[in-house]
């Protein structure tokens, strides 16, 4: 893609590409805004920027990731995602064919999830002003009456339910970046979680207190944040946390712990003890939760520590890392 000269033709080319890839009645209208009907109830809205490297990884690319990530942020409130908007910052020289692939996978991801990308914008910036492609995405959704999930709602005794194996996305990205291939390719778990979340809400109703998608910072960051907001601690059992062998081996190689590694298709739910079995059963019945597990419980703790009983028997603090994982051993 070029910047400046020929801008008009280029803009048309790009907008044509997106219109085709996202194909819906709103975009076809070619307005600067899209109108839609509002029904009664509470709406949720989220926005997120997607800046990743590499842009293509096993199991997806920045486009599908953006759609999934935005849908998941909405779904974690228990809401049904409805509409998305996307803004693209494209570096001059970016290959049109790559952009096309990305746009198409966004369209496919949205279509599969039953949501529509109804507004968008593209800017091509000079070489060096962006690293290939940045996507900024906003989404809105509708929450059912009476549902009020929030990070400050966990209670002592609640169960911690995890929808599947940890670390797949982060390790897929990192093994690509560090070129440490494994016999079996590690594929990102990038997926839209709203139907899993809906199945859980249907099974657990008011028993679900909090849902989170443990993206950057991993499960450790998600649970530490809930612990802080809800003013309690968590005790986890390492042996209960599913991790794929290839992911575990790569984490070991890189000196990382799966609990700190990013996921893009997993959720963690804090559930009242008497609803936990029903919710876990609903998770296991859903294709995205077939490896779901009860991995621990919320406990009273004035330090608000997340602690994990390790496979060696000791119980240690699962830290909330600020910045990257720095060495500690002196």
């Amino acid at each position: 893609l070029s910047h400046g000269a020929g801008g008009r033709a280029m803009a048309q080319l790009i907008s044509g590409l997106f219109h085709q890839a996202f194909g819906n009645e709103w975009l076809a209208g070619s307005n600067d805004q899209s109108a839609f009907d509002v029904t009664a109830g509470r709406m949720v809205m989220t926005t997120d920027g997607y800046v990743i490297s590499p842009l293509f990884f096993p199991g997806g690319n920045i486009g599908s990731l953006a759609v999934h990530g935005t849908i998941n942020d909405i779904a974690m409130s228990g809401a049904r995602p409805l509409y998305l908007s996307a803004s693209f910052i494209i570096e001059e020289g970016f290959r049109f064919s790559d952009l096309k692939t990305i746009a198409e996978s966004m369209g496919a991801a949205a279509c599969a999830a039953g949501v529509y990308i109804i507004a968008g914008d593209t800017k091509v910036v000079e070489r060096g002003k962006a690293d290939g492609l940045f996507i900024s995405m906003t989404g809105i959704g509708l929450v059912a009456d009476g549902l009020d999930l929030s990070a400050d709602k966990a209670k002592v005794g609640d169960r911690v339910l995890l929808s599947g194996s940890l670390g797949d996305h982060g390790v897929a990205i990192m093994s690509k970046r560090q070129n440490v291939a494994f016999q079996t390719e590690i594929v990102s778990d990038s997926a839209a979680l709203h139907s899993l979340a809906a199945a859980m809400v249907a099974a657990g109703g008011g028993g679900i207190r909090v849902m989170r998608d443990p993206t950057r910072g991993g499960l450790a960051a998600a649970l530490n944040e809930i612990a802080l907001q809800s003013e309690l601690g968590f005790h986890l059992q390492e042996s209960m946390i599913p991790v794929k062998p290839a992911v575990a081996a790569t984490c070991e190689l890189l000196g990382l712990e799966p609990i700190h590694v990013a996921n893009e298709g997993k959720l963690v739910a804090i559930v009242a003890p008497d609803s936990a079995d029903a919710v876990l059963a609903a998770m296991k019945a859903h294709p995205l939760g077939s490896n779901a597990a009860d991995i621990g419980e919320a406990v009273a703790d004035d330090h608000k520590f997340v602690q994990m009983t390790t496979d060696f028997g000791g119980r240690r603090i699962v830290d909330w890392l600020w910045g990257e994982q720095l060495p500690r051993i002196c």
């Binding site: 970046r177 560090q178 070129n179 440490v180 291939a181 494994f182 081996a249 070991e252 190689l253 890189l254 000196g255 990382l256 703790d301 330090h303 520590f305 602690q307 060696f312 028997g313 000791g314 119980r315 240690r316 603090i317 830290d319 890392l321 600020w322 910045g323 994982q325 720095l326 060495p327 500690r328 051993i329 002196c330």
Partner: protein
Amino acid sequence: MTMGGEATALDGRRLRLHVRGAVQGVGFRPYVYGLATRYRLGGFVANDPHGVIIEVEGERASDFVAALPLEKPPLARIDEISVHPVGAMASEEFCIRASKQGRVSTRIVADAATCPECLSELFDPASRFHRYPFVNCTHCGPRYTIAERLPYDRPTTAMKRFAMCKVCADDYADARSRRFHAEAIACPQCGPRLSHEIQDIAAAIAAGKIVAIKGLGGYQLICDARDEAAVQRLRQRKERDQKPFAVMVGSVDAVAGIADADAAELALLEMAPRPIVLMTSRHRLAPAIAPGLSRIGIMLPVTPLHHLIFEALNSVHKRAGESWATVATSANPGGEPLLLDNREAELRLAGIADLIVTHDRDIVTRADDSVAAVVAGRTRFIRRARGYVPEPVRLAQTVPPILAVGGALKSTVTVTRGNEAFVSQHIGDLDTAEGVRFFEETVGHLLSTLDVEPVVIAHDLHPNMASTRFAEASGKRLIAVQHHHAHAASVMAEHGLTGPALALVLDGFGQGSDGGNWGGELLLCQSAQFRRLGHLAPMMLPGGDRAAREPWRMAASVLHGLRRSDAIATRFAAQPQAARLCAMLEQPGVPVTTSAGRLFDAAAGLLGLCPVQSYEGEAAMKLEAHVRTPRIAKSGWTIEDGVLSLFPLLARLAAEGIDPVDGAGLFHGTLAAACVDWIGRAARETGITTVALSGGCFLNAILSSEIERGCIAAGLSPLLPRQMPPNDGGLSLGQAWIAALKLLEPQGQEGTA
């Protein structure tokens, strides 16, 4: 000790003496009473907020003043005596006056092992303390570990729940008694009781059982140190694979049977703090005690209970030709702090110990056993805790009140008051909730027993340490201190040095001022500032902390650096990740480190000594254990722009089939010589000849003595840690000293170099 005031023209006048130091709760007043009575003086002695105040009058008052510091009780420490003449009162009687309450500015003394007098009472059938496991007096027994706060009086200790019987009360009130104001006084009639009979405990140990006993600062695990099966069982149950266990013997005579000890080591062993002392092992005990190591940690009985157990073992369970030795290891579950609560201990030790021996005297403050060695004739601490804490480090000047919170592993904290720095006992690692709680308790206990309100909290640069977060949450003014600067400053603080000085810090890891992974640093320290004159040549650290646990990774990193990556997969074929690690080393973005600790790991890994460590420092200790004679490899290092590279040496160690004994000798000798060369060049450039030696690698006795010797031979003045361990246990003292110097700087000159 210093003496001040006018002490002339004494005759016929009354003298007032103020004594400062560790003079309360150590039998100082009865001692003064006895001395004054001996010289037929009138007057009084009393505790006051600063120590002890004495007034004497009579003909021989000057003899009294001269004798006072000479004959002091064993646990007393006199820092200062001032003498002033006051008006005579013609009093002929000498008395002990009741303590005045006031602002606290004295201190609690450290716990001390059973004294010879109590020991003879323990085994004297005629004594009322015969076979009583809690006998103590003002010369010995628990102090710091049973004190809740100051003043150190029975109602503020764990003894408050035991009402003294008539005989004890009389002893306690008798100024001529060794138990006058012995706050922990107790006898079989009125004191704490043990949960089991000594004979049953001894029988269990003799039968190969694992016994937990409640000691001074926490629970200990004991088993027969000659019974390999028992020791293996203890390893299994404690889930402690290789880390060495300390050993206890009944008396100093029993040491010769298991270790080659010199006079200095035996003397250290017998001192009142009763540390574990590392000595050359004769390998006479169960091999599982200290696998692959040349040194063994030995301690003597600390409490009457230990003495009773050994007496029973050596008489009832006597073995021909050898005296008893037991394992004596702290009963902390997997790296957590010591247990101190009876119920908690029973709960958590149930799966480890066959027998749990407790008693009803609470441990208020936990303290691990201290560990020390004699290096080049001087005491070197490895872990400073029971018996030494809370003895302060004297600083070169009075400083503002500061709290320094240390690092994250082998933590201690330091609180300053006046010209003293109180370094806490070894707290341990802060990666468990119990560890963090113990850390917080220790901070609280130190601040309240010292009655100090810090104006500043000093902490490490690393953002993810629990200690750093504690500092950040305090709302106080903070001073962040670079890790290795703190290591250097710890030694400088001990030696009363404000700089300028060179500092060689050979350490594992610390976050650098530039965010890098520092560890082998040559610094120039001046007041609160430092400049990085040089560092070890960076090595790749493949897998961060994983590389620190797996020396084979560091060896692979070296092979990669030597362009011999092809050898990695074959040499480390036993490591499932070897091929992938090799691929990873080829990619950009692998972190690097200037760590000296990782250099040891690399050497151990290349020599095949310890591909994977099961405890921190294992590879370096096993490498050291292989040294027969340190030798210097010709052209084994280069120094360029301050960067010391040992790659030529490592290339020799990477040779196929090198004998580990040769390799270990070559590594130690060459590294030491290279360091001396490195320091020497910096000394010539800067004109500074004083050099502080610090960092965890100075726990290595061979490296430490070689560098020290080399420095002296080169005309330099090396300073080594004497009162603190060189590892992260000394960090908090260094942080406090840097913060103090920063606060004392003239306004407007703040900032780091």
